[in-house]
């Protein structure tokens, strides 16, 4: 029982990342009709926003410590962060410690700008082109983004820890009547789950309860009619591209402490996210979220030793098996709309 609860928690946690990326992906598809293979790269850039802010806050000057030597036997160069010398050791250290949560604020304008630049500079020229062209150009763009990040940050993963207060695990077992330390789950992963829920809720509320969102939804359903009403739907869709980029970026920022960011982390999520979108139904926002959590949970259960002992290697294929089964029985995906990707 404890193993099942742990894998449910794992599944929800994995599903949060899948859902957040897939949400942005399907938002772009639903509004602009673009299959964006650079979406994983936006997730990666979000994670590097956290790395960048951490580096900015940790900017240091160097003092020579004559009492210690470096690997060449010269006096050791010790880095002292400016934040610590300006605000005192305790406050300075706390600012650096909280760099990942602070990066949420940093990443939103950065990701919006990147999203606008991508859409205005490149994507808009491919609206009326076949999906294959869109895939090629956005995939190429993803590789360019990767190489830029690699050029500046190197290929090695960069540790970007969560604030110290979130180190350690929460004992769920005690809450559910189990012995202590039987069902524990890392604090930061719980934060990630909660954060995802808030972002998903915010996106849905924005689309549901604002006039802007209503126009966007109308445009998603019938772009031409909305245009005939004199509404500049393109401008709104451009903004939605920026918002989708920001959602992917936020997912990346908060993921940085879970696995050290590296330049190709976006590619690791890209294919999975597309499967999530297809299973959920192209262009369906609730479908993307539902499929994200469903596939995340299934993937976690497939990793259990009991399951692997019966179906060796199932953890590597489960998502694709489920995707095939769902598409065979529901060709439009779980919550796909009629007419989308069917012309």
């Amino acid at each position: 029982m404890d193993a099942i609860i742990l894998q449910i928690l794992n599944g929800l946690d994995k599903g949060s990342a899948y859902a957040l990326i897939a949400l942005g992906l399907t938002l772009i598809f639903g509004t602009l009709g673009v299959v964006n293979f650079a979406h994983g790269a936006l997730f990666m850039i979000g994670a590097f926003c956290a790395v960048t802010l951490s580096k900015i806050l940790s900017l240091s000057y160097i003092i020579l410590d004559e009492t210690q030597t470096d690997f060449l036997g010269k006096p050791l160069k010790v880095k002292v962060p400016y934040a610590e010398s300006w605000f005192g050791p305790e406050i300075g250290a706390a600012i650096i410690d909280w760099s990942v949560p602070l990066a949420i604020l940093f990443s939103i304008p950065v990701m919006l700008l990147i999203g606008f630049a991508m859409e205005r500079g490149l994507i808009k020229h491919f609206y009326k082109r076949p999906h294959a062209d869109q895939i090629l150009v956005t995939f190429g763009l993803a590789i360019v983004m990767q190489e830029i990040i690699k050029y500046f940050y190197g290929a090695n993963p960069i540790p970007t820890p969560a604030p110290d207060v979130f180190t350690g695990s929460y004992d769920f077992g005690v809450l559910l009547g189990f012995d202590p330390n039987v069902i524990i789950y890392p604090y930061w992963r719980l934060v990630y789950f909660g954060f995802s829920a808030i972002i998903i809720g915010a996106v849905f509320s924005f689309l549901r309860f604002t006039t802007f969102g209503m126009v966007v939804r109308a445009g998603m359903a019938d772009r031409e009619t909305v245009g005939l009403l004199g509404i500049d739907i393109d401008k709104r869709f451009t903004l939605m591209f920026g918002i989708a980029a920001a959602v992917a970026g936020l997912a990346g920022v908060m993921y940085a402490p879970i696995n050290s960011p590296n330049y190709h982390m976006g590619m690791d999520f890209l294919v999975l996210s597309f499967v999530v979108v297809v299973v959920g139904g192209m262009g369906s926002l609730p479908g993307a979220v539902l499929a994200g959590f469903l596939l995340g949970t299934l993937e976690s259960f497939a990793s259990m030793n009991e399951v692997k002992s019966i179906f060796p290697g199932i953890d590597q294929i489960i998502i694709y098996v489920v995707a095939i089964l769902i598409l065979l029985t529901r060709p439009r995906g779980l919550m796909g709309r009629k007419g989308v990707m069917e012309d």
Binding site: Q7, F71, V182, M265, S303, M304
Partner: protein
């Protein structure tokens, strides 16, 4: 006046005969410089450095390339000479190899076997590389080693730690200076016993490819021999990034040690995930839970950050060693690049020197002559103490380092500390050891 009958066919025949006659003495006098692939004809010789320049191990590949460039400089008599000054063999004179200036070309393995073979093939066929060196993966090393065997080129392996490289996949044209999974296990077992006791329950997470399998087999055998019990061994896909669903079952498995048979990004992520789940803070079976990473790399330790603190693993070499060879190499590398070399850089540097030295001692670039010079070669002064290239399987035997993640690092390079230098005798094994069974070294192939 006689009439000379000149026909087109006659001229061609005469020309061909004359050309053959003129070329004959050259071919015969070329002796050892002919009859093998890419025999150098000019004043230079080309080495092929096949390293990951893109992909997840690109950082490690770049460090290998730095060391290889340094080795070429030293071979050509530039710089301070580095380990050439401490190498026990004095055949290298700083005038290239056999009097020919050393040049090099590079290839990108991308840490993919097919890409690595393609880049090695291109260096051999288009650039005329006479030797291929480098790499950061056993899958790649085995693939490129096979290609070099077919092409008649010497392969001086870079970082490859699978038993199979000099086990079932060994080749006569391939040579490995780096240690292997068996040696890691043999070095680690006594240290683990003294640190954590002989009554432990070990849970293994293993990367699902050649290196992971042989590493797991080796460490499980070595720890079981000293009394540990292997609770479970779970194979994890190489493409995994989030290991939480593999770590969670460890919590209540009864295990009190987690062995991460992972390398590179897998190691960084699985170790980070294990620490997040609080494994190192747990008490199981009345003992503190411990994590072991059998194969360490400085670059990956840096990627894992403070998560490596206190975690035991092994290495082929480390820049903190204080022997004359290591100090010379660290000084040379550090002054040129402003950073200490990694152990993958070290093995590539050493392999390049060893190849050049073997050519000098053999008096030829012919791979069969070079191979003969390397087989059974005993040397010292290259950072690992007295070392031998065993003729039976082309594996180097030398001391192995047991490392531990440093508790209070002083800078970004100061992530690991040396716990023990395990003597070579403790990590040696018979050529017919079951873990290395299958496959034949075969005969050396000189190629063309």
């Amino acid at each position: 006046m006689s009439k000379l009958n000149l026909t087109r066919r006659g001229v061609i025949k005469t020309g061909a005969a004359a050309g053959t006659a003129l070329a004959m003495p050259t071919i015969l006098t070329a002796g050892s410089h002919a009859g093998f692939t890419n025999a150098p004809t000019g004043s230079s010789v080309t080495l092929g450095f096949n390293v990951p320049q893109t992909g997840p191990y690109a950082e490690e590949g770049m460090d290998e390339l730095r060391a290889q460039e340094l080795a070429v400089q030293h071979l050509n008599g530039e710089g301070d000479g580095g380990m050439m000054n401490t190498f026990s063999s004095k055949a290298l004179k700083g005038n290239g190899i056999l009097g020919k200036k050393v040049e090099f070309v590079t290839g990108d393995t991308q840490t993919k076997s097919d890409a690595a073979r393609a880049s090695a093939k291109s260096m051999i066929e288009k650039d005329g590389a006479i030797m291929v060196n480098g790499g950061s993966s056993s899958g790649v090393a085995i693939a490129v080693q096979g290609l070099c065997q077919e092409a008649g080129i010497i392969f001086m392996a870079g970082l490859t730690h699978s038993n199979d490289t000099t086990g079932k996949d060994k080749k006569a044209n391939g040579f490995r200076h780096f240690f292997n999974g068996y040696m890691s296990a043999a070095a680690l077992a006594p240290v683990l016993k003294s640190a954590y006791g002989d009554d432990r329950q070990a849970y293994h997470l293993t990367a699902d490819y050649t290196w992971g399998w042989t590493q797991q087999e080796s460490i499980a055998a070595a720890t079981e021999a000293m009394g540990w019990n292997t609770v479970n061994n779970v194979l994890t896909p190489l493409a995994s990034t989030d290991f939480s669903s593999y770590i969670a079952p460890v919590l209540n498995s009864g295990a009190d040690v987690l062995v991460l048979n992972h390398y590179g990004g897998n190691m960084v992520n699985s170790l980070t995930n294990a620490i997040q789940f609080g494994l190192r803070d747990k008490m199981v079976n009345g003992k503190k839970f411990e994590i072991v990473v059998p194969l360490y790399s400085e670059l990956m330790a840096a990627g894992a950050g403070e998560n490596v603190q206190g975690v035991i693993g092994s290495m082929n070499w480390n820049w903190q060693l204080q022997d004359a060879g290591s100090k010379a190499f660290v000084k040379s590398f550090g002054e040129k690049y402003g950073r200490p070399p990694s152990n993958s850089a070290h093995t590539c540097y050493v392999q390049t020197l060893l190849y050049a030295d073997a050519c000098e001692r053999a008096g030829t670039f012919n791979p069969c002559g070079v191979g003969e010079a390397l087989e059974g070669f005993d040397f010292d002064g290259l950072g690992n103490g007295p070392t031998s290239y065993r003729a039976d399987d082309h594996q180097c035997f030398k001391d192995v380092l047991v490392m531990k993640g440093k508790e209070n690092p002083t800078n970004e390079y100061d992530t690991l500390e040396i716990v023990e230098v395990t003597p070579r005798a403790q990590v040696e094994y018979a050529p017919d050891h079951p873990m290395f069974a299958g496959g034949q070294l075969g005969a050396c192939n000189p190629g063309a």
